[in-house]
């Protein structure tokens, strides 16, 4: 009895220490965002005792177009993620519950669409977008981000759906439920943790995507990745300001992540009742 208590306390400590270690670089950047530039790169480093300042945030907000970029990011990341889920859920359902001998092939093919590094296909896409007026539009970026994240979503949802026992779905179908009802009423609650985590993953990937979002936009559709990039590597000391800009870009995702968390928790308790 004694041993179990000790080792579980030790395990808990280890878990927290490791989790903090993983988050440490981000936490360090968070601290840096409140320091002066000189303080941010000082050695020996200062941890909690220094002149806390909001100057970096003030400067970044004054020099960048935060609200405009935030709006673009929400539309681009949100739009493409919703589109991805709308396409991926049916596809994953089909592959998980009505598999054919082609299923594995299709899965691998989907993944293979990501094999060509984006930078190699920049010029053809650029030319196409120029001719079709898609440059510097939200739609243009949404299309590419959707295509980029769709294989991931399909894979993850496929894995999730596979863990849902098919008998329950069949039972619902036997009871006369239509496909839509089956998906909404029976599948979704059971696969909720998977659906939420897949959405969150896709959303964050789209939020931080820094190739297409930077190369295909200039001003109108420039999202937060462009906002942050403007503070990256100028001539001079910049790490405190870059950290502040990054925090401003991360904050909205954190909020959405926290909301997704709560769905995950709800899904968990549901699962326990099973």
């Amino acid at each position: 009895m004694q041993r179990t208590r000790l080792s579980s306390a030790a395990r808990r400590t280890l878990t927290w220490v490791l989790a903090l270690a993983i988050a440490a670089p981000l936490l360090w950047a968070l601290l840096a965002s409140f320091k002066s530039e000189l303080e941010a790169i000082a050695s020996p480093p200062s941890f909690l005792v220094f002149d806390w300042t909001l100057e970096n945030y003030r400067s970044v907000l004054a020099n960048g177009d935060y609200l405009h970029s935030l709006r673009n990011s929400l539309i681009i990341a949100g739009g493409s993620s919703l589109l991805v889920m709308a396409l991926a859920v049916p596809a994953a359902w089909a592959m998980a519950f009505a598999p054919t001998r082609h299923t594995r092939g299709i899965l691998l093919w989907m993944l293979s669409t990501k094999m060509l590094p984006a930078v190699g296909v920049l010029i053809p896409i650029f030319l196409f977008y120029r001719d079709w007026g898609l440059l510097d539009t939200q739609l243009g970026v949404i299309l590419l981000l959707t295509a980029g994240n769709l294989p991931i979503a399909v894979w993850m949802l496929y894995a999730n759906f596979n863990e849902v026992p098919g008998e329950i779905l069949e039972a619902a179908r036997m009871d006369g439920a239509s496909i839509v009802q089956e998906v909404l009423r029976v599948l979704a609650p059971m696969a909720l943790p998977g659906l939420a985590s897949s959405f969150f993953l896709i959303f964050t990937l789209a939020w931080n995507e820094s190739f297409w979002s930077l190369n295909l936009t200039t001003t109108d559709a420039a999202p937060l990745t462009a906002f942050v990039a403007a503070f990256s590597n100028p001539e001079g000391l910049f790490w405190a300001k870059l950290s502040a800009a990054s925090m401003l870009s991360i904050a909205p995702v954190l909020v959405i992540g926290w909301l997704c968390q709560r769905q995950l928790v709800r899904g968990l308790t549901f699962g326990a009742v099973k």
């Binding site: 596809a91 359902w93 026992p165 993953l201 820094s210």
Partner: protein, 297 residues
């Protein structure tokens, strides 16, 4: 495990047709957005297309490919691609697995723990590379240098001595959240009663892990491996930001980037893209052979 076959003949056909319809939009989008651009790429790889030179787009056949493959930096780039892939996969999966199993056992504060572990995922990749390079790994003034001085050791000159390892660390750090999230989600559907029964029967933690947990996690691990591999093949931003490239750190994607954005030679860049696709296909075939069994039920 997913028993979805319906015994009645009609039901089966109906289901299959519906399945096709359900998959169609996704497949269509991918064909348009991901396959169509491949065609001009193949075309460009066969012509002389340099943005800065006033060239006519003459057909040059395999010249671009020849230039690419005979470049002394080509083979090292392939090697680095594999090394980078291997290192990042190993680190991120091991750490992600460890964290997932640890977090799974904790009840209080699990939400916060999850948020902490997912933290690296929030940062833009180029910014993450800059933070690691200048605030953490800087041998003179970085946090790591200070930590090692506290222990009386000298600072590690990360990018001079261990460039590929350093880059792998940075990238693995960014992918730990993904691995952890996927594995944690899967662990949540793991049958606890079975594990408790085994524990009561006196099975060691290692045996439980090896014969109960690991098989359950086989599929998610396979998925993490496949997805990360595909993503890592396109990696180049971190390499550019930290070392500016070089024989020891260039990978295939960086070569492509270098051709497109620095030499503006679209012909050779497209050839490199085609080679990257071929290489990725070979790699995927190998990986599927290794982990593919776990992918299906």
């Amino acid at each position: 495990m997913s028993t979805s076959t319906i015994s009645t003949g009609n039901g089966r056909t109906y289901l299959r047709l519906q399945a096709r319809i359900l998959m169609a939009p996704a497949i269509l989008l991918l064909v348009v957005c991901a396959i169509l651009p491949l065609l001009p790429t193949i075309y460009y790889s066969l012509i002389d297309y340099r943005l800065l030179a006033s060239t006519s787009h003459d057909f040059v056949g395999a010249t671009n490919y020849a230039r690419l493959i005979t470049d002394p930096g080509f083979l090292p780039a392939i090697g680095n691609t594999l090394l980078l892939n291997g290192l990042v996969l190993t680190i991120s999966v091991l750490v992600g697995l460890g964290m997932a199993m640890l977090i799974d056992r904790v009840i209080v504060g699990r939400g916060l723990l999850r948020l902490l572990v997912i933290a690296p995922f929030f940062v833009m990749p180029p910014v993450a590379a800059l933070i690691w390079k200048n605030l953490l790994m800087q041998p003179v003034a970085g946090l790591f240098a200070w930590v090692s001085s506290v222990f009386g050791a000298g600072a590690v000159d990360w990018f001079s001595a261990l460039p590929l390892v350093s880059i792998s660390l940075i990238v693995a750090w960014q992918w730990v959240p993904f691995a952890c999230l996927v594995l944690l989600t899967s662990l949540q559907s793991f049958d606890r009663e079975q594990r408790e029964a085994a524990e009561l029967d006196g099975a060691s933690s290692w045996a439980i892990f090896r014969y109960l947990t690991l098989p359950h996690l086989a599929r998610p691990i396979a998925i993490v491996v496949m997805i990360e591999t595909i993503f890592l093949l396109s990696l180049f931003a971190e390499i550019y930001v930290t070392t500016g490239g070089g024989r020891t750190t260039n990978n295939l994607a960086f070569l492509i980037y270098s051709q497109v954005m620095l030499q503006y030679d679209i012909g050779v860049a497209s050839a490199a893209g085609v080679v990257a696709v071929i290489f990725a296909n070979i790699l995927a075939l190998v990986m599927v052979r290794l982990v593919g069994r776990s992918l299906e039920a």
